[in-house]
């Protein structure tokens, strides 16, 4: 079975569970930016965990299936339309052969995950079908591309009920380098409101707000970073690393988001405001 791309929207990339285990070669894990939404898409579509999906930023994707297919969209309140007919949020959709399927513009959230039963069968690179924005993995699909869908191996599962959207502050654990900041800076970090700037992408959320002052001004030797690391460059404005972060960073990391909060951060649009709070243990 194949799926032909008619239009991609602002950004559509292949994503899966990523490629851990290659950091010593300078290769970052990448993977879906909102991991929970990615996992739900595969459960609902009846795919094994780790199957490749399309991560669609702000909707706009339009595709056509040559055979009957089963598709589902998760992550935002965007929905699939089948030959112009709207379906429900996270509805598992039986798509007739030859139908055109589009992803609507979300009103809430940023990244939607389109899973097709069978998964996208693009060739993996170092064991993963994720496109890393820093340059690794399959090429981005383009209009006219004919994408092969893999053989069906699973049964559609029951995903847990959709959790209500949480608007509260992003939860963090301080460290590894919170001791590089003044006590006032940590207090500011945990109290102030920051705004997501348009320079944000799947590498990092760049924030604007009160700058965080360092207690130490020496240079930190580069060290490994993780998804959710809140790195503070010399201008004092935090950057929250997302899935496509580099392997190492050269600025101190004041705190790290919990995995759940990193998923919520993945759905923040430019202009959104955000606060940080200490995660319960």
């Amino acid at each position: 079975m194949t799926m032909t791309v008619l239009r991609t929207g602002p950004l559509a990339v292949f994503k899966d569970a990523g490629r851990p285990g290659h950091a010593h070669q300078g290769v970052a894990p990448s993977g879906a930016v909102d991991r929970a939404a990615y996992a739900r898409a595969n459960v609902l579509a009846g795919n094994p965990p780790g199957a490749a999906v399309l991560e669609c930023t702000l909707g706009g994707l339009r595709v056509r299936f040559d055979e009957a297919a089963v598709a589902v969209l998760t992550g935002t309140d965007a929905v699939l339309t089948v030959d112009g007919e709207r379906t429900g949020v996270e509805e598992v959709v039986e798509v007739p052969a030859g139908a055109t399927v589009s992803v609507t513009m979300p009103r809430r959230g940023l990244r939607s995950y389109l899973a097709v039963r069978g998964g996208f069968a693009v060739p993996p690179v170092l064991g993963s079908r994720s496109t890393d924005q820093l340059g690794m993995g399959p090429a981005r699909p383009a209009p006219g591309d004919v994408l092969r869908i893999g053989p069906v191996s699973g049964k559609p599962g029951d995903a847990p009920a959709l959790a209500p959207a949480v608007d509260g502050p992003l939860e963090v654990d301080l460290g590894p380098r919170d001791d590089w900041f003044t006590a006032e800076a940590i207090e500011t970090f945990l109290r102030a409101e920051y705004t997501v700037t348009p320079a944000s992408n799947s590498v990092g959320l760049r924030l604007d707000g009160p700058p965080l002052t360092r207690a130490r001004t020496t240079e930190l030797p580069s060290e490994g970073v993780v998804r959710g690391s809140v790195q503070v460059p010399p201008d004092g404005l935090p950057i929250v690393f997302q899935a496509d972060h580099p392997v190492t960073g050269g600025y101190p990391v004041i705190a790290v988001l919990t995995p759940e909060s990193a998923d919520r951060a993945a759905q923040l649009r430019p202009g959104a405001t955000v606060r940080f709070t200490l995660a319960p243990h």
Partner: protein, 205 residues
């Protein structure tokens, strides 16, 4: 002495005194293959230990890592490679001037002392090489180049390195090699893995 720093719910950052200790800890962690550990990121003074929180926990990883006995300094030997280089880089003269030696002496110093891959970063297959001739400490270019061809051999600070792919960069370029730093057809695509000893050899074009 290894210090363990909190790094979220899916990783622990182990900090040691210097690069040799970091390489030794990295080698010990790699050999130990601790349950649930998914990735190791060696760096100048740290090793980031990433793990699957469904299998293990920060406390378990800290405890297991603390119980390891890394080999003594310099024992983390991970093989050796010789890289043939044509020393005709655009910054060779400038580097020579900075070090107050002739270009030939720069080549002699770059080839005369073996280097060690400290860690990878910047791009897939880019290894930061340390331990070369002690006189090497050169500033980065004030304006980075927008495109440096794959195979370019450069210097920055006390490091040397070889660009694995065409990319922008600010290192001082002293030569180039045809040896491939990154090849997806190899079991380990990167040639320069942490701990590998590297000797450069001057060749004619």
């Amino acid at each position: 002495m290894t210090r363990f720093l909190r790094c979220g719910r899916e990783a622990v950052l182990a900090e040691v005194d210097d690069l040799d200790a970091a390489l030794a800890l990295y080698a010990a962690l790699r050999a130990a293959a601790l349950p649930g550990v998914t990735d190791l990121v060696p760096a100048a003074r740290t090793v980031l230990i990433r793990f699957d929180p469904a299998v293990t926990s920060p406390a378990m990883v800290r405890e297991a890592a603390a119980a390891l006995e890394p080999d003594g300094h310099g024992q983390a030997y991970a093989g050796s490679v010789e890289i043939p280089v044509v020393y005709d880089g655009p910054d060779l003269a400038e580097v020579a001037e900075h070090l107050r030696v002739t270009p030939d002496e720069v080549v002699a110093r770059h080839t005369g002392t073996p280097w060690t891959v400290a860690f990878a970063g910047f791009a897939p297959g880019f290894g930061y090489l340390t331990g070369g001739h002690p006189s090497f400490d050169v500033p980065r270019r004030t304006t980075p180049r927008t495109r440096i061809p794959a195979g370019s051999v450069g210097l920055a600070g006390r490091f040397s390195g070889v660009y694995p792919s065409d990319s922008p960069g600010g290192w001082q370029l002293i030569g180039s090699t045809t040896e491939r730093m990154w090849d997806l057809d190899r079991p380990e695509p990167a040639l320069l893995l942490p701990g590998v000893r590297v000797t450069f050899k001057a060749v004619r074009r």
